[in-house]
């Protein structure tokens, strides 16, 4: 049996994180192909619904990225993300989804950091195994 390859959805803000991920690209920093990026203008646009939807539809993990606190292109947008993440983490515990969602601040200059986070997160999710939310009706 081939090794489990997790599917990971990444949300990235246009100004810091998306640029940082681009930088990982232009610097040719190898990381696993398990992650696919969704671009938003600001991480504060990412609602909890979007994260849960990804998990429901087959993602094994979700990585939310944004500008470092204090660096947000939209002044305070990423604090919404931070607050949302704290509550979401608590909710995910109750929903049996510990460790499936991670928040990382990636600045436009942190391509290397993104590649590192990507590798780490893929490994973590591999350890957790595939996420199959069975309805377990019967």
């Amino acid at each position: 049996m081939s090794e489990f390859q997790p599917k990971i959805v990444v949300f990235a803000c246009n100004w810091c994180s998306y640029a940082g991920i681009d930088l990982a690209g232009s610097s040719r920093l190898e990381y696993p192909p398990n992650l696919s990026v969704v671009r938003v203008m600001c991480s504060s646009r990412v609602s909890i619904e979007m994260i849960l939807k990804a998990l429901e539809r087959g993602a094994d993990g979700v990585l939310v990225t944004g500008c470092h606190p204090g660096d947000c292109h939209y002044i305070t947008g990423n604090y919404n993300t931070l607050r949302r993440y704290h509550l979401l983490r608590k909710m995910l515990e109750d929903l049996g989804l510990n460790g499936r969602v991670r928040l990382e601040w990636i600045s436009a200059s942190e391509g290397e950091r993104f590649a590192q986070v990507a590798k780490e997160f893929v490994e973590e999710i591999k350890k957790l195994g595939p996420l199959i939310i069975r309805e377990e009706v019967v």
């Binding site: 919404n80 704290h86 509550l87 909710m91 929903l95 939310i133």
Partner: protein
């Protein structure tokens, strides 16, 4: 015009929805005037076999309350669907899974383990659990299957309309019945209530300051509420903004914050996730420790935000695999 035939049935419910119908008081006579009740096990002596004997689509309107917990619920729902022209999910449990839906944080195994073994009030030395099939005096008795997951009605059968609420308010029932009998129904699949959140009709909405920020979150027993001021702005989790209106703000007028029984609006797919997104957006702090403190004020976020809607949420239930580890 011939009198319409209506049926009423309950699945996993508390009986409050039945009460709500009784609460129509003398107005129920108008209903009886226009319709014959052909099935209502709570109040009238009908049997399942009576329904089975009706021809298909015999019932004009069938109101089903309660969530789908047992195999029996599904069986009856499917039977009534076949026999009815129109099925209406009545009340939060039928509409969204309701309070019984919170059992989706467990499954059959964990519920049984607690209820029949671990609960402090249980004495069960033999470790007996309910069996689906039991032989007693040479007769085989059968109980319905208890399922792992509670579902809303539309996750089992096709539903034409929804009357929301825990329980539906007299006015909303009346309006729905009028709409049904006059044929003035909206698009199939609609929820027969407001298309706006509760705030739109809440008498306290206009007391909100320009900006709402929360520095702490309190449960109602931890605060003496000012009933002239928006509860949310007092730090109490009122789900009015995230909940469909149409209830005439009965809870608010009764001095309690909204707990969300009318469910989400059409444009949102997950009431609890929306609630969490909006609440965290108005927490004042930027400092992680302070954020954590406020978040920890929310003692049971799933129970609070998904009080009525867990089975209809995006994830529908707890993922049990992690727990087993």
């Amino acid at each position: 015009m011939a009198k319409a035939k209506i049926a009423l049935y309950w699945c996993a419910s508390c009986g409050g929805c039945e009460e709500a119908i009784v609460d129509l008081a003398e107005k129920i006579l108008d209903v009886v005037d226009k319709a014959d009740i052909v099935f209502w096990p709570v109040a009238l002596d009908f049997k399942k076999s009576d329904v089975e004997n009706y021809p298909d689509k015999y019932i004009d309107v069938c109101f089903i309350n309660g969530a789908i917990r047992f195999s029996e619920h599904e069986e009856m729902a499917k039977l009534l669907r076949r026999k009815s022209k129109m099925v209406i999910a009545f009340g939060s449990c039928s509409h969204l899974g309701g309070i019984p839906g919170l059992a989706n944080l467990w499954n059959k195994e964990t519920i049984f383990r607690y209820v029949y073994h671990e609960a402090p009030t249980v004495v069960n030395k033999e470790g007996i659990e309910p069996q689906e099939k039991v032989k007693e005096d040479g007769m085989e008795l059968e109980l319905p299957s208890f399922w792992n997951t509670v579902r809303a009605l539309d996750q089992v059968i096709e539903v034409d309309y929804y009357i929301p609420g825990c329980a539906p308010t007299p006015k909303i029932i009346e309006d729905a019945i009028n709409a049904i009998f006059t044929g003035q129904l909206p698009e199939k699949g609609s929820v027969l209530a407001s298309q706006q959140a509760l705030c739109a009709e809440c008498p306290l909405n206009e007391t909100k300051p320009e900006k709402i920020t929360l520095t702490e979150i309190k449960r109602v027993h931890q605060i003496i509420l000012d009933h002239e001021k928006c509860y949310l702005t007092q730090g109490v989790l009122c789900l009015g903004p995230v909940t469909r209106g149409g209830c005439d703000s009965l809870c608010i007028k009764g001095g309690m914050p909204c707990t969300g029984c009318f469910g989400p609006l059409d444009q949102t797919i997950d009431q609890g996730a929306r609630a969490a997104s909006f609440i965290t957006s108005i927490i004042e702090y930027e400092d992680e420790e302070l954020i954590e403190k406020v978040v920890n004020d929310i003692v049971d976020p799933i129970g609070w935000f998904y009080r009525y809607s867990l089975p209809k949420s995006i994830l529908k239930r707890r993922n049990m695999e992690v727990k087993k580890k």
